[in-house]
Structure formats: C-alpha cells, structure tokens
C-alpha cells in the first residue's frame, strides 16, 4: 500500500531543504 502511495502521490522528499533555504533567504532579506 505504501508503495502505491509512493507511485501515486508525488512526494517532494527535498521539500525541507527548499523550505529551509527559502526561510534563510527571506530572513536575510527582511532582517537585512
């Protein structure tokens, strides 16, 4: 069943890396 989930729903495993990078970028921008 989990394999199905893997096949069916597109899972962004790297999401946390991009969220983290975006957060750091935004903090740099906003807090100068």
């Amino acid at each position: 069943m989990a394999a199905d989930a893997f096949k069916h729903d597109r899972i962004w495993f790297e999401k946390y890396k991009y969220d983290d990078a975006e957060r750091r970028y935004y903090e740099r921008m906003v807090n100068g």
Binding site: M1, A2, A5, H8, F13, K15
Partner: protein, 204 residues
C-alpha cells in the same frame, strides 16, 4: 489512495476501483491515449463519473465524492478543513515518507534525512496534540475531510515506526487517530490497523 474511498463511505457514492490488471496496468493504462485524453497529467488516482465528469488529484476526488458535512458547511469550517488537508500534504507526507519508505524497502536509507524527518514528525505530532487537546475531531464536532487526510498521512507512521515510546508524549493524537480508525467508514477501507509496537528499522 484511501482518501476518496473513505469519503465515499460517508456519502454512499459507489466507486468502482480499477487498480489491477486486466482493468488497469500501472504505467501502461495511465499513459494510454484514451486515458491521457481524459486525464492529461497521466497520474493516478483519477476519477471518472457516470456522467463523464473527470477529475484527478486525490484531494479533489475525495472532495467530489464527499458530503457537505465532510467538506465544511461554513466558510470558516471549509477553510479550516483545507488548512489541515494542506498541512497533511506539505508537513506530514514528506517526512513520513522519508522515515517510513526505507523501512519498507521502497527507497534507500539516508541516516541524516531520516533523523531530520523524525524531528519533523515530532514537531507535527506536537502541533496536532495541542490542537486535539480541546477537540474530538480536527474541525468541528464530527469527522471531516481534514480527519480523513491527516489519518491517511499518519497511517504508515503509526503502523511502522511510531512505537509506544515515540508516540507517548502525543496521547491526544493517538486517541484521535484510534477513534477515527474505529469509525465504520474508516474501518471499511483501512481494515484492522495495528499500532506499531517496535519501531521498524530500514530494510537493508
């Protein structure tokens, strides 16, 4: 995807599921011209109504086969439901998959990613636990698409890796999770779910 199937249990919508040969060959049927004409993204799950209405994406299908109660009958309820459905997809599914899939041999194990995913799961369970301290269900007094989405996102965590030690601090979540599993509509689709007793390690 379980979400539309559970939602249909509440609405009584009769879904004919085609997921195995000869009705459906994953990777073949969903790449056929006939399928792509109806579902250009070529992904499953995909739904076609008797009236020819076609929709893909599991949350959209679950919404379509739902009842007004499951969808939320006021803008506040509907927005809160959408919030938890999005939270399941964006904050639960990625770390849950990163942690569980290597224990099922679906993807290779990566120690750093798994440790990070465990902390993300702890954070998510903390958010849910504080919310469920004062709520029986996630939105309002009855089951909604929010509970269906978050139960399905947590399912493999509770089956594979959330052993009593890890889930101990999140009693409200486990109470809510088990309450949902015992709803006839969830049981009809998920069957008997046994909570993890020993945290599965990756399947080398």
């Amino acid at each position: 995807s379980f979400k539309p199937l559970i939602a249909a249990q509440y609405s009584g919508a009769r879904l004919r599921v085609a997921s195995t040969p000869p009705h459906f060959h994953f990777g073949v049927t969903n790449k056929s011209p006939e399928f792509l004409r109806k579902f250009p993204v070529g992904k499953v799950p995909a739904f076609e109504g008797d009236d020819g209405f076609c929709v893909f994406e599991s949350n959209a299908i679950a919404y379509y086969v739902s009842t007004p109660e499951l969808r939320g009958e006021t803008p506040e309820a509907a927005a809160a439901i959408l919030q938890w459905v999005n939270f399941a997809d964006s904050d639960i599914v990625p770390p849950a998959s990163t942690w569980v899939f290597p224990t099922l041999g679906i993807i290779h194990y990566n120690k750093q990613a798994t440790e990070f995913a465990k902390e993300e799961v702890r954070r998510v369970l903390g958010v849910l636990d504080s919310h469920l301290r004062s709520q029986t269900f996630l939105v309002g007094e009855r089951v909604s698409l929010a509970d269906i989405a978050v139960v399905c996102a947590l399912l493999w965590l509770y089956k594979q890796v959330l052993d009593p030690a890890f889930r101990g601090p999140f009693g409200n979540v486990t109470r809510w999770f088990v309450t949902c599993l015992h709803q006839p509509q969830f049981r009809a689709v998920l069957g008997d779910v046994t909570l993890c007793q020993r945290m599965a390690q990756f399947d080398a």
